[in-house]
Subunit: 617 residues, 2 copies
Amino acid sequence: MTVETSSVVPALKNIATRLRIDSIRATTAAGSGHPTTCCSAADLVAALFFSEMRYDPKNPQHPGADRFVLSKGHAAPILYAAWSAAGYVPHDDLVKLREFTSDLEGHPTPRLPFVDVATGSLGQGLAAGVGMALNARRIGSDYRTYVLMGDGETAEGSVWEAAAMGEFHKLDSLCAIVDVNALGQSRATQLGHAMDAHQRRWEGFGWHAITIDGHDMARILAAFDESRQTRSLPTVILARTLKGKGVSFLEGAPNWHGKALKKGDELDRAIAELEGQLVDAPADLPVRPPSTSRRDETRSAVAPPSYKKGDSVATREAYGAALARLGSADSRVVALDADVKNSTFSEKFEAAHPDRFYQCFIAEQAMIGASMGLASRGAIPYPSTFAAFLTRAADFVRMTAISNLNVKMAGSHAGVSIGEDGPSQMALEDLSMMASQPNITVLYPCDAVSAEHLLINAASHAGPVYIRTSRPKTPVIYENNEAFPIGGCKVLRHSPQDVATVIGAGVTVFEALKAHDELSQKGIHIRVIDLYSVQPIDAATLTAAGRETGRLITVEDHYLTGGIGDAVARAVAPAGLSVERLAVREIPRSGKPEELLDKFGISSRQIVAAVQAATHV
Amino acid sequence: MTVETSSVVPALKNIATRLRIDSIRATTAAGSGHPTTCCSAADLVAALFFSEMRYDPKNPQHPGADRFVLSKGHAAPILYAAWSAAGYVPHDDLVKLREFTSDLEGHPTPRLPFVDVATGSLGQGLAAGVGMALNARRIGSDYRTYVLMGDGETAEGSVWEAAAMGEFHKLDSLCAIVDVNALGQSRATQLGHAMDAHQRRWEGFGWHAITIDGHDMARILAAFDESRQTRSLPTVILARTLKGKGVSFLEGAPNWHGKALKKGDELDRAIAELEGQLVDAPADLPVRPPSTSRRDETRSAVAPPSYKKGDSVATREAYGAALARLGSADSRVVALDADVKNSTFSEKFEAAHPDRFYQCFIAEQAMIGASMGLASRGAIPYPSTFAAFLTRAADFVRMTAISNLNVKMAGSHAGVSIGEDGPSQMALEDLSMMASQPNITVLYPCDAVSAEHLLINAASHAGPVYIRTSRPKTPVIYENNEAFPIGGCKVLRHSPQDVATVIGAGVTVFEALKAHDELSQKGIHIRVIDLYSVQPIDAATLTAAGRETGRLITVEDHYLTGGIGDAVARAVAPAGLSVERLAVREIPRSGKPEELLDKFGISSRQIVAAVQAATHV
């Protein structure tokens, strides 16, 4: 450093004070926001940005730059103030906070180049940080990852899922900081300032825990130094702070969460008090440059599948096979598992690429969160588990969508067709959960060939993707070189005499084909469509089928709401068409797969009955 | 006890051996299931059912009976075997495991009277146990709650949310048991048999932790005794066990998770080995009778709301007011918060009924999980938080539905109308998440009067309910005595000249009313419907409106999928009608509420434009 050590601490204290001032001014200008949570974190943020972190203020996405995740996203104003102090955000922009025309949103989103993952749903940042640290290892970089949390958010179980992952994967490049200001939104936090209790929790999860006064700058710098020198385990810095620090009428005071100071006397008094804390010290501190060492990514063509028509292969098994081959072709591809790799067949990827396979144990939130972090740094993560258990990570899915991250989620064991294990293991709302997010692509292969192609296509499609696979073996019906563009569908049966179109996906494609054959024998012809891309959807083909055959009947191994029936109905509504739906309409139970398909209304027999019904039902 | 102490241990060991035999036989008969995880837990289960727990084998729902939650739900066969040994389940029924016609499902569900909450999604049982223990305190009963977990499932963050709640609420009637068999589904668990590491985690969360050999019956009994005598903090018994215990070729062996033994030699060898372990001891042990002390519930009429038409009141605020009054009228009503009580206004309930208000801190999974436990024991829980953060608990919502529990969930701050805080705080998929579950009632009031009535109606409606409230103040439009039956809607504007029907709910009702007034001035008349009950839905009124006005236009502060548009479309599809939809179609951003309603397509201006569009769009 060019600045003498003796002057670094006062200079950093000044920066912290200016960050407080900027945060308070911005929230007052916006008329809302969280100034007091910015004040508690200001010394920590100043130390990170102007002593500890190595980055390029002109290029926040520098691949070797240390990462900073503001997990306590409601402290957004201080993040913006820090990047302004670093020279990236024009200082005048800070007071445009929360305006529609500004990217300085109420909580950080990746519209801003210095935000890797959106935060604001508390307890997510650490899992993302785990993913970023795993990515550093993957690319052979020594960049470090810093995650700033509030103490309130450590009530979220996802924090402890991520903590366990950090312990297991020995992520010594990961440093969590907990801003223990002891005040939540509505009351004191559970542990308050009982720093020993905080420390016990983190040490219980195998972390190197350092408790400090979060307003003692020299102690902060020493803690970061200690973290950097700690090997084989991640560090958490537990910083005792005061919410509203620096402004006497805010410090540690209740009922100030999420309140901007009023313009006029209230604001003026706060700013005057803070300005009075500025001391004589160098105005600027240099930023440490980012690391440059890393491995290049490698990419080549993916070998095509090699099935024979009529082979009997579960789509989940084809998924695993294709994932392993994709991993060989593209070094960016990684896989994450929640201890079901032998059911989802992600174990095939592990066998081929053990260094890019990340075990998360039974912790689906951490799995998706780590995927967010990995994706934000250039990896293409394929996290997979039973589709039913992806609901565990629904809020992470939501934030993945808000962040528009390149995460390729896969859920196996869809629907009642899993059989005997019963409803807790059956995904019947996963299509709804995924398709609700407007930018998530939802794919649903019915056979091994389409499963492989869709998995490969997902890798080159920018943005989040969901792939739904099934438990039962199904026959291969496509040629290996068939194309499955995202947004398409396949018309499997058609004739000029078609009196209805039956639209299925996954296992119900085969029920529809069976129904077609049965009805044919009675001289009744139906069109059959494989809707392998649920979102985006092939509205043109569906609308044409509706117009030509007069009736559209959807059949899905999913509950009635938010799945294939609703997607088709939305697609054809502009043409004034409506849709008849076969779907699971009640909570199912254990039984044999074929038995359940029939009892819950989505078997070939039920399709035949629906087609033959004289009127719309 | 009538049996001499010296013979209790061998008698319990024999029971454990018989539970192992029954579990193995049942899974082999079913051809699937998890026998080895039953074997590791058998000694613990035998001790619980035939020494520790007080219950009535003839009446599993006895209100004073100790509760047993099998959180590791895949060990279902041993639960069924234990209730058979207790005399409740006919022994011959055990081999009907997993059949469609048997209630002995693959994972336990409340179809069985001895199952309070469905399990099988791991990591949920402890939160339910927290709720049951809170309920014991509420009704003044000394029943105790036992939760049996696997070590693998303690990777789920929800376990630690529940642990923190157990610590905070000093639940000394709660005893968790972790069956540390060290093997997950696909590999060794993270901590394996490192019992000290397990103990550190639990002690870090403030629990009284007792580590034992889980196959040492005397030590098991002593641990339960120690738990019963522990005051002010919950106990966890960390039991070191072997998966497959009792069968030499299964004990601690990998790759046996979720596999039934083959009929013939494999089964015969296992049974013979187990039968060889039976010793001379009394065949039956008495069961301790349940506790009888408890307070009676009290119920009276709820005072009606008292608003004036035109008053400006946020539905979330009315929710809080009504909840407090409901609590005064019905002792079963309790409220749970995730540290946003001053935003959801559940603080009004806390002020009136502090002893029935349970703070969960920022831990939404534990909040819904505890609600499940409370509801299973007769309470009527109203957990509430920002609707966006209920997505955090999506898997608990799923299991609440599978359990058909009487939980009344409320989500505030719906949609883009929250404004400046940005997308992370906006619930735009909550209707979809809730309505996907076929038995969840979904209510969405637009004004204070309807909010109060719907909250009250929810209490007397059996089963899970979701109530969506909004952040902005909206005018009161209904008389205090207006009725809001579940499944109804309100036609707010209609005339014989209506050219379209606009269907809104919540804030969009007022956009629709504005649009109505604007269009009226141009001589264009529209029908306006307040769809306060999204599920069930008033198909008759909607269909009639569609037929009479020719066009149905939905407008919702929600994403396109799974919300009001889809619900209305499903309702009117049997009549061959389709729906035009105004909904949020992309990830939104920060801004002023009115600005966002307009930019994201759901303002009165957008409704006017849609009505005036010449054709379907």
